[in-house]
């Protein structure tokens, strides 16, 4: 993953309403929720929600599909996974294994800092 993409994703999540939307969608994965349902559950005006959904879509954090008159939004787990991968890779010093922590929380007591290098293509 590129820097710029990471920044886009981080910025998309770094906002109260958007993080709430994303977390709500995670609770309703993988089907997702209609925009109207999100707006109601979070008490957001339609226009405001639409603005935030566009940001989340643009960051690749959510996808949308039409179903009848409704548009369903669902989380794109892969994007979150890539972000976590990016952060894990870059919270670790190249030279030293300074970041056993991040890896350890996933595989407690296993390896130390084996976040495998991602191919530069992603």
């Amino acid at each position: 993953m590129q820097n710029r993409q990471a920044i886009t994703i981080l910025a998309a999540l770094a906002q109260e309403s958007r993080l709430a939307v994303y977390r709500l969608l995670i609770e309703h994965a993988p089907e997702g929720l209609a925009a109207s349902a999100i707006a109601e559950k979070l008490g957001l005006p339609n226009a405001t929600l639409s603005f935030h959904l566009k940001e989340l879509s643009h960051a690749g954090l959510v996808s949308s599909r039409q179903s009848g008159r409704f548009i369903y939004y669902a989380p794109v787990i892969e994007t979150m996974d890539e972000l976590v991968g990016y952060l894990t890779d870059h919270c670790c010093s190249q030279s030293a294994g300074t970041c056993a922590t991040a890896a350890a929380r996933c595989a407690p007591g296993k390896r130390k800092s084996t976040a495998r290098r991602r191919s530069t293509s992603a």
Copy 2:
């Protein structure tokens, strides 16, 4: 970790210069770098860098210590680790194991989605 803290950290990272500063400090962990060295390496004016360092400090992503006339900034790995923990916890559906991916990248072929719940205190 609380929502608000997560948002603070995400926002701190969601900016080109700040992400560059953080990544540079990671490369120089655990000693860190003096502000002047950071400014020079990244080509940032002092005032601008100082502003960004304050943001990173406020988010708990970096710490500072004085050494002679210099102030050294170093990354706080634990904060990044907590953020990754927060994201991992919340990219996974409570009800279903929709997020094997994030866990899998840390322990490939191991468990599915065993991101253990963090105590609500953190």
